[in-house]
């Protein structure tokens, strides 16, 4: 096989894929186009027709949305080591606990948020410590849940 045919095929494919991508021909690339046309005179008609066919027959597939999101979540988990993506200065609520609200809170949940607060990120640690101090100052009914935690 001579070297000319693979080169002509490659030039034609460049041209074909550029057209697919909707690349505009600028003045500069118009010169390239002329060059490609000259190169593709060596292109076998059967190769050209097959390339045109495969251009339509070989689409790119997209994974399911469910898979894509699941893997995105897995990567976030791996990226942070804890499954919660943070940026500097960002406050992140621990899942299932609204750290800024005391409504419906129980001693158990307070304890859990305190334990994890120090492990997530420094920003959350500070928020957790502030929350604890605030709750301690509210009276014995709130402090009892925390004191149980301190005993652990």
């Amino acid at each position: 096989m001579g070297a000319r045919h693979p080169i002509a095929t490659d030039s034609y494919l460049d041209d074909l894929l550029s057209r697919r991508a909707g690349v505009r021909q600028t003045d500069q690339s118009a010169g390239t186009s002329t060059h490609l046309s000259a190169a593709t005179t060596d292109l076998l008609p059967s190769i050209r027709h097959t390339a045109d066919l495969l251009d339509r027959a070989m689409p790119r597939f997209h994974p399911s949305f469910r898979f894509e999101e699941r893997l995105a979540g897995r990567l976030r988990t791996e990226a942070t080591g804890r499954g919660i993506l943070t940026t500097p200065g960002e406050l992140v609520a621990f899942p299932g606990v609204d750290a800024m609200s005391d409504e419906g809170d129980t001693g158990d949940r307070r304890g859990r948020s305190l334990l994890v607060g120090g492990a997530i990120a420094s920003g959350v640690s500070i928020a957790g410590a502030a929350l604890l101090a605030w709750r301690r100052g509210r009276g014995p009914d709130v402090a009892s849940g925390v004191s149980g935690e301190r005993a652990v």
């Binding site: 095929t9 460049d14 059967s46 190769i47 066919l53 070989m58 898979f67 791996e78």
Partner: protein, 202 residues
């Protein structure tokens, strides 16, 4: 290297990896890797699907690739123009290696997702559709019979729209060798189509 400087089409130089800012951001903060993931997930998944012919295997492989890429990012080194290695090439090298490992572990019998492919390749013209579908099915059958390296080169060229140079970097071949692979692959498919022509020229 002997292919350079001959009567070749003009090269498309890769003077700068367009992904460099995203890669650097991901190095500083692994959370920023998600941008690269979103950009390339369909490409990696498609490559895996064409190689495995199995959507579940393709998902597994895609997951492996991105996890390895995330953990291996500190080791990724962008190369210069002479031996360009972009993030995309690096990602596909990981995919190729993961695929090789998977094939060593489990010998799968591929089942071509023809229905899915045909559904997408179908035209809007009902009169044209039957002939085109038949032709596409025959093309797929011909692709199936290609040796692995030719089929892979064809997938990277048509599906991933990679240049011969990029494919060479992914496959560990010279640019000239990739051109020959693609040309021979097309020639084989054309022969098996037996002179059939697409019913509608592009």
């Amino acid at each position: 290297m002997f292919g350079r400087g001959r009567e070749e089409a003009p090269q498309r130089p890769i003077p700068y990896d367009a992904d460099r800012p995203a890669v650097e951001a991901a190095r500083r903060d692994h959370g920023a890797f998600e941008a690269l993931y979103r950009k390339y997930v369909a490409q990696v998944y498609s490559f895996a699907l064409y190689e495995t012919r199995d959507p579940h295997a393709a998902e597994d492989l895609t997951e492996q690739v991105f996890l390895k890429a995330l953990h291996g990012l500190p080791r990724f080194r962008e190369q210069g123009d002479g031996d360009a290695s972009t993030f995309r090439v690096w990602l596909f090298r990981i995919a190729r290696n993961a695929l090789s490992n998977e094939r060593r572990r489990v010998r799968r019998h591929p089942t071509a997702p023809l229905d899915e492919a045909l559904a997408i390749a179908a035209t809007d013209d009902p009169a044209d559709e039957v002939a085109t579908r038949e032709l596409v099915a025959r093309a797929w059958a011909a692709i199936e019979r290609l040796p692995e390296d030719r089929r892979r080169a064809l997938t990277l060229r048509f599906v991933e729209e990679m240049s011969a140079r990029e494919i060479g970097q992914v496959m560990g071949r010279s640019e000239g060798a990739v051109r020959v692979l693609v040309h021979r692959a097309l020639h084989s498919v054309a022969e098996q189509l037996g002179g059939s022509r697409p019913s509608r020229p592009s």
